[in-house]
C-alpha cells in the first residue's frame, strides 16, 4: 500500500505566533500547512504534492474554539474539527444548518481529525461547508506575520484547489453574523452514495419581514458546480422584496442553475449538475422558507 515516500522537514507550531513566524520564514519555500491532513496526506502519498516543509498547526489549541454572542455572532477557530462543529451545542442551537451539513461530510473518522478550515483551504469545489458559509454570510480571517485581513466566504476560494491565502499566511478564524429574526437556512447535497463528494450542493438563507410574508434577504450558496463554491446573486435578487411562492422559487432555482459552470466528470455531465443545482435550490429554498416562517 502507498506511503509518503518524499521526505519533508516537519515544523510543528504550538501557538499562532509561532505558526506565523514559521510561515514568514518559509514564505518563499515549498511548504504546506497541515491541520488534520485528511486530504493532504493522501495527496502526498500519491506524490501529487511533495513539499519540502510541513508546518503543523494541529497543535494550536488556542484556535480550537466555537463561541457565540448576539453582537459579534459566531466565531469558529481554525483548528475546530468537523466533528466539534457537528456536535457543538452552540451550533445545534443557533446554526443547526451547520450540524446538518456536517452529518454528511465524508465519514466520522475524517470528521474527528479533519478541520473545517482545512477543508476550506484544500478548496475542492465540492467542499461541503462552502455553500452554507456563503449563505450565512461568513467572513474568513487570513493572518500573516503582523497583519490580518478579513474576506467574504464567497471570495475565499478562487479556483480548483486555490484560495486567497498567500504564501506566509494562514486562516485563523471564520465569523458568522447572528441571524436576523425570521430567518431560515437549509443545506443539502446530493451524491449517489452517502457521505460522498457532492455532485452538487446548495444552501439557501431566507429572511422574512415582520409579517413573515415578504422576503427581505436571501443568500444562496452552491457547491460542486464550478471551479469554487458559487454565490447565486441573480437568483437572490429575484427573491428579495417579494412574497416567496413555489413558482417564484422554481424561477429562482432556474436562475441559480444558470449561474453555475460545472464541468463534466465520470459520474455526471455538466448539464446534469447544472439542473441538479436548480433542483436542490428549489428544495432547500422551500425548507428555508418554512424555517423562516417558524423562526
Amino acid at each position: 500500500m502507498k506511503t509518503i515516500v518524499t521526505d519533508f522537514e516537519y515544523l510543528p507550531a504550538k501557538t499562532v505566533e509561532e505558526a506565523l513566524e514559521l510561515l514568514a520564514q518559509h514564505k518563499d519555500d515549498d511548504y504546506k500547512i497541515i491541520a488534520g491532513g485528511q486530504s493532504l496526506n493522501t495527496a502526498m502519498k500519491h506524490r501529487l504534492i511533495t513539499p519540502e516543509y510541513i508546518i503543523d498547526i494541529k497543535g494550536l489549541s488556542d484556535l480550537d474554539y466555537i463561541t457565540f454572542d448576539e453582537k459579534s455572532g459566531l466565531r469558529i477557530g481554525a483548528l475546530t474539527t468537523h466533528r466539534s462543529l457537528e456536535k457543538s451545542p452552540i451550533i445545534r442551537d443557533k446554526y443547526p444548518v451547520l450540524a446538518e451539513m456536517e452529518e454528511n461530510v465524508a465519514s466520522v473518522e475524517t470528521r474527528n481529525w479533519g478541520t473545517v478550515v482545512g477543508d476550506l483551504c484544500n478548496a475542492d469545489p465540492a467542499v461541503d461547508p462552502g455553500p452554507p458559509l456563503i449563505a450565512l454570510d461568513a467572513k474568513v480571517t487570513i493572518a500573516g506575520k503582523g497583519e490580518e485581513r478579513v474576506v467574504d466566504a464567497e471570495e475565499f476560494a478562487v479556483d480548483f484547489f486555490e484560495t486567497l491565502v498567500q504564501p506566509g499566511e494562514m486562516v485563523t478564524e471564520i465569523q458568522i453574523p447572528a441571524l436576523p429574526p425570521h430567518s431560515g437556512v437549509c443545506f443539502t447535497k446530493y451524491s449517489q452514495i452517502h457521505g460522498d463528494y457532492a455532485l452538487a450542493s446548495a444552501a439557501v438563507l431566507i429572511t422574512l419581514d415582520e409579517s413573515k410574508k415578504k422576503c427581505v434577504n436571501a443568500r444562496i450558496g452552491l457547491g460542486g458546480v464550478g471551479n469554487a463554491p458559487v454565490r447565486a446573486k441573480k437568483a437572490e435578487e429575484l427573491l428579495k422584496g417579494k412574497e416567496i411562492t413555489e413558482d417564484l422559487l422554481a424561477q429562482a432555482a432556474g436562475v441559480a442553475s444558470e449561474e453555475t459552470s460545472p464541468i463534466s466528470g465520470i459520474e455526471a455531465s455538466a448539464e446534469y449538475k447544472k439542473d441538479l443545482a436548480g433542483t436542490l435550490v428549489k428544495r432547500v429554498g422551500k425548507e428555508a422558507l418554512a424555517r423562516a416562517q417558524k423562526a
Binding site: 497541515i34 493522501t42 503543523d56 473518522e109 481529525w113
Partner: protein, 167 residues
C-alpha cells in the same frame, strides 16, 4: 531526520523515533508489529485502518504519526481482556458480522468509539458512525445487528456490575 514520538498504544508506553513522513498506521503495523490494523486503500476512503486515538475513531492511514505524539492509541489488539473477548468482539462472532474479516478490526474500533459515546444507538446512528467503512462481504446489515447486540450486552454487563456494587 527522525524525530521522537512518545505514544501509548494499548496501554503500553513507547518511545520511538520516526521520519516525519511516517503515518500512524506504519507505526502500528510495522514498528510495533500490530498487524490487526489493516490497510485496504490509498485514498483515505475505506476506514479499514480505523483505530481509537484519544477516544476518537480516526483513520490511522491519514494521521501523521508525529501528530499522535503524547497521545493514546487503542487498536484491535487492545480490546480483549486477556483471553476474554470484548462484548463487541463476541457480538461480531455471534452475529456473523464478518466474512473475510479484513475490514473487521476497523469496524469493531469504530463501533467501540460509538458505544463509548452513545451506549444505546439507533440503527440510523449506527449507520452514520459506520458509513465510512467499506465492507465487501457482508452488505453491512449483519454488522449493524452485531453492534446493536453489543450495545445490549454492554448495558447488561454494566447493570450487572452496578447491581453488584449495590449489594
Amino acid at each position: 531526520m527522525k524525530q521522537q514520538l512518545k505514544i501509548v498504544v494499548n496501554g503500553e508506553p513507547y518511545d520511538l523515533f520516526v521520519e516525519p513522513k511516517t503515518l500512524l498506521v506504519q507505526v502500528i503495523r510495522e514498528m510495533l508489529g500490530l498487524k490487526g490494523t489493516h490497510q485496504a486503500c490509498d485514498s483515505s476512503s475505506c476506514a479499514a485502518c480505523t483505530v481509537i486515538l484519544d477516544g476518537m475513531a480516526v483513520k490511522s492511514c491519514s494521521v501523521l504519526a508525529l501528530q499522535a505524539n503524547g497521545k493514546e492509541v487503542l487498536t484491535i489488539e487492545g480490546l480483549a481482556d486477556g483471553t476474554k473477548l470484548h462484548p463487541i468482539q463476541q457480538a461480531f462472532i455471534d452475529n456473523w458480522a464478518f466474512q473475510c474479516g479484513f475490514c473487521t478490526s476497523g469496524q469493531i474500533m469504530a463501533a467501540k468509539a460509538l458505544l463509548d459515546e452513545n451506549p444505546n444507538p439507533t440503527r440510523e446512528e449506527i449507520q452514520e458512525q459506520m458509513d465510512g467503512h467499506i465492507c465487501r462481504c457482508t452488505g453491512y446489515n449483519m454488522i449493524n445487528e452485531a453492534i446493536r447486540d453489543a450495545a445490549k450486552r454492554l448495558q447488561s454487563e454494566k447493570s450487572a456490575q452496578s447491581g453488584k456494587g449495590a449489594a
